[in-house]
Amino acid sequence: MAGSLIELRNIHKSFEDTVVLEDFNLTVNENEFITLLGPSGCGKTTTLRIVGGFETPDKGSVYFEGKDITAVPPNQRHINTVFQKYALFPHMNVEQNIAFGLKISGKTDQYIKDKVAYALNLVNLKGYEKRKITQLSGGQQQRIAMARAIVNEPKVLLLDEPLGALDLKLRQDMEYELIRLKNELGITFIYVTHDQEEALTMSDKVVVMNNGIIQQMGTPEQIYNEPENAFVADFIGDSNIIDAVMVEDKVVRICDRIFPCIDTGFGNNRPVDVVIRPEDLIIGKPGEGQLDGVVSHNVFIGVHYEMEIEAGGFTWLAQNTTSYPVGTEVSLSVIPENIQIMHKPQRKDEEAIEIDV
């Protein structure tokens, strides 16, 4: 497999009675920022830990640069991990933490000193060598954990939901930091998260998982604009998912109205799921669009107005910078390119997640 850095083949993994991964396959290429995205329990962390060597698959193999490393323990893999709660050694200071891996490789004192300074500089924490871990803030600890991992120049960096404990602004700053680091260092990032915003912002490739099965793999744009099933559509961004009937290629019937679209290959008169993003709904005067309705909810969230519109027997979620007060009669339209057709879910894991409020 030319260019593939990591390959997981036919991985099976169970914990007690629960099967987490079944016949799981994944290829990661060099210099990629690939994100495993999914809800809790979907198997993304288990996959990451198998790559890192902290879990052994029940069946299947892990390949690194073409060699089978399934039986290789974590301390011999040329891979480093940034742990979810940072796992910084509390009894050592910043410098000792970062130098830990370098000391083990037997580097000279001068090399270590230089490398530590370089790493701290890279994460914008110059001069922090002698600080105690307990004195650091969450964001600083996160960056030290990064520094400790990358200073060993691994080919692959594994990141297990590292931004989860940070508040919003800091998280957004760190997302940009991670992209910058990846570009500067040129190493492959395998990132695990349940937060779709992180996934879409940073990744070259997103792997959406549910129940141990890959639902869809693609660039952030592909995942967002062309979700392949209800689960992906619902998990990424807000969406309107409606039952519809594919009349024929490029024609779909939604809420008893005919809508032209651009998808083909879904058959004739077949039931399908349709996804339309809220921001793609064009709101106009009644009668001027494809579907008439009434505004039932309106909330201002800063970036835009979130509105719910009852039309054609369905509650549509719409986003617009213009506000339409509750009770206004409106019409809805959507251009063909923004109608995404999906197959009906074949299995439970392809369905949208129901949340118990």
Partner: protein, 270 residues
């Protein structure tokens, strides 16, 4: 009424039950029978018989503490890894023997160790020479280790269990061998528990008189025996208190060491 005053019964009890009695020891330690000030009682530690008792007690206590540590630390590590030790179960297993009277348990070792006893029965049965341990310092060490091992295991176990597994995984991730993980991660983070365990074994071992009585055949005198005799058979409170004061120096030293190594007071028995 402020909630702070809830603690008053306790404070009264400390004053009456701990502070005043300690003052008593100090008073009697530094006076003679007539009440006059003297340092005779304290200085008498240098006398041959007393000095020997103190040295022997120190030696045996140190050996026992070391043995307890060597036994307890690997045990704590094994239990941390395995699934079988839940915290409650561990405490259960080590606290349970305390419900069989400790005098009898200690004395049972007499049965096990003596010339005609069980161990020698097995050894001679196998054709090996009989062990003559009973009534020697070795027997006393055995008794000390037996009685105090739980006090070393529990604090160390508690501290080791608190070590976040992700720290150990991070160390492996960075390339550490098992030995390096033990030396650089687990051991330093176990220090509070180890310090607590050492104190909880060393002090009782140093001051015991029961164990030396029962397993030493009554011929081996530790400092504890001498003090006990001064208070029961000899009724020489002054000498007894004086010797206690000397013994207490070592207790205070242990406590000071403990508070240095366990700054946050995180190590506990429970």
């Amino acid at each position: 009424m402020s909630r702070r005053y809830f603690a008053s019964p306790f404070i009264v009890w400390i004053a009456a039950g701990t502070v005043i009695p300690l003052i008593m020891i100090a008073y009697y330690g530094f006076t003679d029978r007539s009440g006059a000030f003297t340092i005779e009682n304290v200085v008498s530690i240098m006398g041959a018989e007393h000095a020997q008792a103190l040295w022997l007690a120190l030696l045996l206590a140190l050996i026992s503490t070391a043995i307890c540590f060597v036994l307890a630390f690997p045990l704590a590590l094994i239990l941390k890894d395995s699934r079988l030790g839940t915290k409650g179960f561990m405490i259960f297993i080590f606290v349970l023997p305390m419900w069989m009277n400790f005098l009898l348990r200690t004395m049972a070792w007499q049965v096990i160790l003596e010339r005609g006893g069980i161990i020698n029965g097995i050894l001679t049965g196998l054709g090996l020479p009989a062990l003559d341990i009973i009534n020697t310092p070795a027997a006393i060490v055995l008794g000390m280790v037996y009685d105090f091992l739980p006090f070393m295991v529990l604090p160390i176990y508690n501290t080791v269990m608190k070590i976040d597994n992700s720290l150990i995984e991070a160390a492996y991730d960075l390339g550490a061998t098992k030995g390096k993980v033990l030396r650089s991660i687990i051991l330093p983070l176990s220090v509070p528990g180890i310090a607590s365990g050492i104190t909880m074994v060393f002090v009782p071992a140093l001051t015991t008189f029961v164990i030396s009585n029962m397993l030493g055949g009554g011929k081996i005198n530790l400092i504890g025996n001498i003090i006990e005799q001064e208070f029961t058979t000899s009724s020489n409170w002054n000498l007894g208190s004086g010797l206690s004061l000397v013994m207490m120096i070592f207790i205070v030293l242990s406590m000071a060491l403990l508070s240095r190594l366990d700054k946050n007071g995180e190590a506990s028995l429970i």
